[in-house]
Amino acid sequence: MAQEIVMPKLGLTMEKGKIVKWYKQVGDEIAKGEVIFEVETEKITNEVEANFEGELAKIIEEEGATVAVTEAVAVMAEAGEDIEQVAVNYSKNESSKASKEEEEKEEAPKKKVKKKEKKKRKRIKVSPKAKRVAKEKGVEIEEVAKITGGKRITSDDIDKYLEAQVEKKEEETKAEETKNKQDLSQMRLTIANRLAQSWKAPHIYLRSEVEVDEIIRLREKFKENQEQAPSLTDIISKAVITSLKQHPNINATWEEDNYYLHDNINLGLAVAVEEGLIVPVIKKAQRYNLMELSNQTKELAQKGRNDNLDLDKLQGGTFTITNLGMYGIDEFTAIINPPQVAILAVGTIKDILYKNEVGEIREKKVMNLTLGLDHRAIDGAMGAEFLQTLKSYIENPALMI
């Protein structure tokens, strides 16, 4: 909004002032506190500073003009406003205001008196000292008046107000010391919203301990024979894909009381990134052999970490694997990524001792798989069957071929 610059009242007895000099011209950018023009009264010559920043749009009173106090001498435009437009609008408003005022004068002198009275009531009484102190200390009198009520504000009131502000601030800082508000990324907010939504789904969890000696051995064989080897996660992914082919009711989504089975297995892999968690999706994962799957996974994870993924690669999943094994987590329950109906949480690999068929103590490596299911779509038995299949593939990867 454009604002008027008015002839200031520089002394108690000042009624008008003469503009001696304009220091600024139309089009000049003016910072708050900059000297705009010079005023001469009977007593003194004073430089007038800008109370607000802006761009000088129009000079109403030229040098040499004598202007009554509070009358407009110039118009200032706000940053971004077209100063020519502001100047034109101002002139229009003024002429219409003037004619309106004349009409009002003739028509309803009573009305005007009323208006004046109304204005008077709003006035805040401030002692001159308080006014000075408030200015020096940058205190808004209106804020102080909220506390003091109707009585005249003295400098003591300003001091009290400032003390109260300091106390308030101290309390705030104290609170801040134990609780630091964090700026949230859009990703974080999305995660929060989606998971809160997901939590509405009635989850059931099935846990199974599976032996992983075979897949470790398989991996070793890859390592011995070629440069690149699939990770254990890749092998688990392959086992999941193979299992899903046999249990299509798990490769599904639940969308507004509709249950969809999907022909393609779009496998989501949860990846921790700096800002949170993303789940890149390997589309039509059933097409890939183990090495291809491994390469796809690597590429997606890399892109994800570099924040380089298309939205397309983050959508459309039909099943999700999440793995916290590398953090030494034994097992955990994951929240389903809606609208999917199942999620597999993979725990860490551990050595355990067991008694074999003939009663000998042997060592083996195991890990926990926890399958989360949306009970609206999947019952426990269906999930258990899937988990059984998965377990058999992981423990005997050769069966996948």
Binding site: S127, K129, K131, T154
Partner: protein
């Protein structure tokens, strides 16, 4: 220290200056054998002779006019008007001669005279003998104006006034003549233009002159019992005025009450108020208040005179309304 009355202190000041400087002499109605209407000159005629303590005819014009001439020609006259109310008769000599001679002669002529005269009511002396007309002379460029409130101030200020090369209107308050106070034994003067803080306090400043310094101090005593601490400032010389002391005090307390016995309209009190509002407005927490006499002639009736003069209670009321 010795305990003297205000009148005795004034007499001592004159005697000391007359002993020191043979150009100093006294002239006025009944200042000689009678010892002065209020006994201020006392035995000075016996000590210094009729040449230096001169009785004059009843003519204020001649008293002041003679003093101006004597001063211009090398003497240091102390002229006395029996009542400040009579100054009107001599006003041309005060206003057009004494005040302007130095200026109009380009400094070739000096007018080192003192015009002593008692002001004030409170003794039933009626309208034509009781005026406090400080404002008549405070507004005249070329004059210095003094109004002491204690014996010590009276002596020290009168000695400075006698030594000053400018005409000094030296007001004395009649009711104060018989009041006693400590006066230093040694030779001392008090410079013109230096206010005295009679009592220190943080809550409000009272600028009081003459008789009203006593009333202000009484008010301060009573208010102190309520935990209100007044700062009482006596300007002592009204011209030149010690603005610095007054403004510093007002800056400290944020409140200014001016208490003088003059009628309020156009008074010296108004001048002080104007100075504070011009130069100390942003020190103020409350409006400046003047506690002065009613804008009427001074009544003869004692009852009415007491109603006319502001009381200690009036000062207290003003202070409280300012807090």
């Amino acid at each position: 220290m010795k305990n003297l009355t205000y009148a005795e202190a004034l007499r001592e000041a004159m005697a000391e200056e007359m002993e020191k400087d043979s150009s100093v002499f006294i002239m006025g109605e009944d200042v000689g054998v009678f010892g002065g209407c209020f006994g201020v000159t006392g035995d000075l005629v016996q000590r210094f002779g009729e040449d230096r303590v001169r009785d004059t005819p009843i003519t204020e014009t001649a008293i002041v006019g003679g003093a101006v001439g004597a001063a211009m020609t090398g003497s240091r006259p102390i002229a006395e008007l029996m009542f400040a109310s009579f100054m009107g008769v001599a006003m041309d000599e005060v206003f057009n001669q004494a005040a302007k001679m130095c200026y109009m002669t380009g400094g070739q002529a000096k007018v080192p005279m003192v015009l002593r005269t008692p002001v004030g009511g409170g003794i039933g002396a009626a309208a034509q003998h009781s005026v406090c007309n400080e404002s008549w002379v405070v507004g005249i460029p070329g004059l210095k104006v003094v109004l002491p409130s204690t014996p010590a101030d009276a002596k020290g200020l009168l000695k400075s006034a006698i030594r000053d090369d400018n005409p000094v209107i030296f007001f004395e308050h009649k009711v104060l003549y018989e009041t006693k106070g400590e006066v230093p034994e040694e030779d001392y003067t008090i410079p013109l233009g230096k206010a005295d803080i009679k009592r220190e306090g943080d809550d409000a400043t009272i600028i009081a002159t003459g008789m009203f310094v006593r009333k202000a101090l009484e008010a301060a005593d009573q208010l102190a019992k309520e935990g209100i601490e007044l700062e009482v400032i006596d300007p002592r010389s009204l011209v030149p005025l010690d603005k610095e002391t007054i403004l510093a005090s007002v800056d400290k307390t944020g409140r200014a009450i001016i208490a003088t016995e003059e009628t309020k309209r156009g008074s010296f009190a108004s001048e002080v108020a104007a100075v504070i509002s011009e130069e100390g407005l942003y020190s103020l927490e409350a409006p400046i208040l003047r506690v002065c006499s009613e804008d009427t002639p001074v009544p003869f009736s004692t009852v009415l005179e007491q109603a006319y003069l502001p009381s200690t209670e009036d000062i207290i009321t003003a202070v409280k309304s300012s807090l």
